[in-house]
């Protein structure tokens, strides 16, 4: 047990600052606005439901990383929730496979208004490596309305964070 506590204390607090890309001072401004928006419109807490609509799973791995100790996205008031009914935002990845099309529509319908959709990753943005085919609808916007897009294959956690900040 002691070794456990020692590990916790010697590891210390690793949380890093919100990524501030040196060439994009406006991101910081958006970040401040978002914080204000979350505080004002969501009582300080924004709930995200992630939906994999056909991804290769690369995007999911980086979204998961947002919850690791380095990014710790919860400190900005952003939470990943288990049900679309609890969500303000759907974070959708993948080209929408035709087999996931109905499930994505239903998930969208299940989220209460007002709601926002972020398409995360090149596949979600434009179909990416998979495009449109007999098996794939391509971009998320071909299936449900999209309010923001985060490019990248996959977008790194810092890019995801910036993309979410950019929604408002």
């Amino acid at each position: 047990m002691l070794s456990l506590y020692r590990k916790i204390f010697t590891t210390g607090v690793l949380t890093e600052d919100v990524p501030r890309p040196p060439l994009e001072p406006e991101v910081e401004a958006v970040g401040v606005q978002l914080k204000a928006a979350i505080d004002r419109r969501f009582a300080g807490s924004l709930a995200i439901r992630q939906v994999d609509a056909g991804s290769c799973n690369g995007c999911e791995l980086e979204i998961h990383a947002l919850n690791n100790v380095y990014y710790d996205i919860e400190r900005f008031g952003v939470h990943f929730v288990a049900s679309p009914r609890h969500a303000d935002v759907l974070l959708v990845t993948g080209p929408v496979s035709r087999h996931m099309e109905a499930a994505l529509r239903r998930t969208y319908e299940a989220a209460a208004d007002p709601k926002w959709v972020i398409a995360a990753g090149d596949c979600a943005a434009c179909g990416g490596e998979f495009g449109v085919s007999y098996a794939s609808c391509g971009a998320v916007s071909n299936v449900i309305p999209v309010h923001a897009v985060i490019p990248g294959c996959p977008p790194a956690p810092a890019e995801l964070l910036r993309g979410i900040l950019g929604l408002f």
């Binding site: 047990m1 070794s3 456990l4 590990k7 916790i8 590891t11 690793l14 992630q50 939906v51 994999d52 609509a53 056909g54 991804s55 290769c56 799973n57 690369g58 995007c59 999911e60 791995l61 980086e62 979204i63 998961h64 990383a65 919850n67 690791n68 100790v69 380095y70 990943f80 288990a82 049900s83 679309p84 993948g94 080209p95 496979s97 035709r98 087999h99 996931m100 099309e101 109905a102 499930a103 529509r105 239903r106 998930t107 490596e129 998979f130 495009g131 449109v132 085919s133 007999y134 098996a135 794939s136 609808c137 294959c153 996959p154 790194a156």
Partner: protein
Amino acid sequence: MHLAAVLQEQGIVVRPLQPSPLAPAELLEIDAFDWGRAAELAQPVGWRWVAAWAEDEGERLSVSACLEKHGGYTVLRTRVDSGHPALPSQAAYYVAADRPERHMQDLFGIRFSGHPDGRRWTRHQAWGEGSFPLRKAYPLAGTPPEQTPPDSGYPFLKAQGHGVYEIPVGPVHAGIIEPGHFRFQAVGEMVLNLEERLGYVHKGIEKLAEGRTPEALARLAGRVSGDTAVGHAFAACQAMERAAGIEAPARAAFIRGILAERERVANHLWDLGAICNDVGFAFANYQFGRLRELWLRDNLALFGHRLLMDRVVPGGAAVDVDGEGIKRMRASIAFLRRELDELLPILDANSSLEDRLLGAGVLSAEDAAALGALGFVGRASGQRFDVRHDAPYAPYDRFPVKVPLEEQGDVASRFWVRYKEIRVALRLLERLLEELPAGALTVPWQAPPAGAEGLGMVEGWRGEILCFVRFGADGAIGRYYPRDPSTVNWPALEKLIHGNIVPDFPVCNKSVNGSYSGQDL
């Protein structure tokens, strides 16, 4: 004994192709009516069923099945009439053949007589009953309806009796995870039966590959399963290079090995944390998550991509490592080893962790062998097979690879096999760095003649990845079939969950961690 001899002894006419176009695998052609019987004869003498794929040759469809014994691969091939393609099923003798045959049925329209389960598998509602997307005449764009209807009406197995109830889960799951559907029958908390319904992320990868350049195929292969970007690209490049008769330079082979081992470490770190998290031990999740993040940052600094996509290319590797990079990697290997040394006694001494992992989700050695379970799932149930060890390829043909083994077959065994595999990978990384040969990173690509084919086999972090490639005209890809180890391991989850309690499903599932995208294709 060669498979050809086994079959011939029983009166099956075998036509070996010599030299084998699929070398190092042997290629045997047999008659269609012997197809099922060949499996019946191979199974009892210890041949493992690896994969099967079909090809549209116009008038006829060819079907190939790959078997393995003691590291030797043999491909059986037969042909059927395109108009009424029918073949005796091999699934009656090999569980592993069940879903791949249904996949061929849905995408090529081949009927497998005597198949124990004729239900559709990869086909949900995106294309019609009588159209087959992997036939050449079927357009890539298909003829999709305005909206694809949901996959309702799939005839799931039913359980009846006093107190039996059913739990449907998915395709949209509660966490940040790929989509699929699970159907449980339970009594109280106990799982009577679990049935998987996959195919939700079918993206038409095999069809998309047709007509691509070798570089573009390597890019697609890196996205078959995002956590296996290196493994699938490695297998695809190996298959294409064998078809083209070229070999990546020694330095590139070592770089590929380094990338593959780095991928193994990153994924195992993540899952070790996630397994602990699923039984409520958040401390380990944060620690392993921290180590994984540092490892991924090193990937970015050393190779320019956190998940190492697009670093393995046809003819070699797209990245190199210099003196500074080697120093940095050595330091991070030493650091990770120290950290693991510190975490090990903490995990070991945690009795509540032991309570939840020991004896949960047992896959017996017999079941693992019958299913042909691969990677850490097989090795935690006493199946030692590892391509790096049993059918070594560059760079693993230079030194022996240690293969950690556990016998219990439970979640704890899968946890510890992975933990040990990280240690082995770290040692391998050091050796690859020590002996990194000088020289070029790529050889010039030479387009093979139309019809050239190649088979790649590499040990991905989940286990054996098999990849078939055939070239068409103008050096473009004519056919691509990647077999992720998940295709074989998913049925293991259905087996090992029997008799466990529903709340233990997440940790059992995580300990197997099948890829959805890799099996759905």
